[in-house]
Each structure stands twice: as C-alpha cells, then as structure tokens.
C-alpha cells in the first residue's frame, strides 16, 4: 500500500482539447490533416483516371460533382484555409531572419507569405482560365 495519495486532476484522453480555446484552435489545424490526406487520395485516383482515358476521367469528374463530395470539398476548403493561416502564423517562430543587429519583424515575414500565396493563386486561376 502506498501511503501517498497525490491529487491527480482527471483529464479526459479523448476530449481534453474542449477545455480551452487555445487547445480547440490547435485541434482545428491538426484535424485539417484528415482532409489533406483525403484530397491526396482523390488526386492519386485522378491521375490514374487521367492515364486510363477520357471515360475514366469522366467518372472521376462525376464523382467530384456528386453532392456529398461537393459538401466535403467545401468543408475541406475551410480546413485548408485554416491550415494555411495557422502555418503562416507559425513561420516567424520557426524561421528567424537576422538583418544587421535586428531580426526582421514577424509580421513582415507573414505578410510576404500571404503575398506569395496571393500571387501564386492568381497565377493558377489565370492558367486554368485561359486553358
């Protein structure tokens, strides 16, 4: 028998993140990985359909345009945006750029990332539009 009776606060192993707003935000960007994985699987299937021929590609496109997949895509889009925003927010903590005696302010690095994101997205949209 142990004479010690330390107080151990009960923490749920499955819902601990619901106790604090910061933990909820953390879980939100962690859960985005489920949708990233699903989208990668969809893309791999799409590449096989592309290799297979127009009919297989057509089947893949009709799958994408089915109501359930449209709904999941909209949810996935939300999670991808959450991932992008949380990732950019963390960049200055992971990447400290020194210039002379000072560090480049984090907001400048984050802003640069958003500028590249905007430029790249615009480039892809124009490319898809003129194709």
């Amino acid at each position: 028998m142990d004479a010690r009776k330390p107080y151990v606060r009960k923490v749920s192993k499955t819902s601990w993140f619901m106790t604090h707003a910061r933990y909820k935000t953390y879980m939100l960007h962690e859960v985005s990985s489920i949708f990233v994985a699903l989208y990668m699987v969809l893309l791999i299937w799409g590449l096989f359909a592309l290799a297979d021929g127009p009919q297989a590609w057509g089947n893949w496109m009709s799958f994408i345009e089915s109501p359930l997949v449209i709904l999941l895509s909209l949810i996935a889009f939300g999670f991808f945006v959450i991932h992008t925003m949380s990732w950019f927010k963390a960049v200055p903590q992971a990447m400290r750029i020194q210039k002379g005696e000072h560090f480049i302010p984090g907001n400048l690095i984050i802003g640069g990332h958003y500028a590249v994101l905007g430029g790249f997205s615009l480039f892809v949209l124009i490319l898809a539009g003129v194709a």
Binding site: M40, A51, E65, V69, S73, A76, L117, L125, G129
Partner: protein, 114 residues
C-alpha cells in the same frame, strides 16, 4: 551526441506543411469547387489535363505536392491519433508512414503512365 531519426519525418512534415499551405486552397478550388458551378470546365477536360500533366515539369511538381502532402498528413495524423486518446504510437506511426510511402509510389506509377 546521439543521432535521432526524428529529423526525417520532421523535414517531410515541414516541407509538406509549407507546400500544402501555398498550393492546396487554390488547387482544391480549381479541381473540386469550380467545376460543379461550370467554371474551368475546359481546363478540367481530359484532353487539356492530359496535355498539361504530360509535361515532365508538371509531373515533378505534382509529385512534390502529393508526395510531401501525404507525408505531412501522415505525421499530423499520427499526432492526431495521440490527441484523440490512441496511445499506441509505434503501430500508428508504422501504419501512417507506410500508407504515405505507398501513396508516393502510386503517384510515381500513375505519373509514369500519363
């Protein structure tokens, strides 16, 4: 100092997180959200997609996006499993990394057939 193997999944996670952060929102919009409302249907037709992906540079970029994306998701799903109360880290890690490796190989295979 002891060498750690952690650097490998960590590099893949960071590379994948960066690539997906820049690429996935607009890519999902073009492939999944725009076509149902009638946008980019020409670009998403089989013939123009087949021409586009037929370029070896595009293939390399797609392999980078899907490959790094898979390893990024695998590493985060491993952490997610822990956070949702599954504490068997070794088997979870084996499963998610094996699936990422399989997906990477399948991507290479599919791209070589196009």
């Amino acid at each position: 100092m002891a060498r750690s193997a952690k650097a490998v999944p960590w590099f893949l996670f960071a590379a994948g997180g960066t690539v997906t952060a820049f690429v996935l929102p607009v890519m999902l919009f073009v492939t999944n959200i725009a076509p149902p409302v009638g946008l980019f249907t020409d670009a998403m037709s089989w013939s123009s997609m087949h021409d586009f992906v037929g370029n070896w540079l595009v293939k390399l970029v797609l392999l980078g996006i899907i490959g790094f994306g898979l390893w990024h998701a695998a590493h985060r799903l491993r952490v997610c499993a822990h956070d949702f109360g599954i504490r068997a880290d070794t088997p979870v890690a084996a499963v998610v990394y094996a699936l990422a490796a399989l997906g990477t190989l399948l991507t290479i295979w599919a791209l070589l057939m196009i």
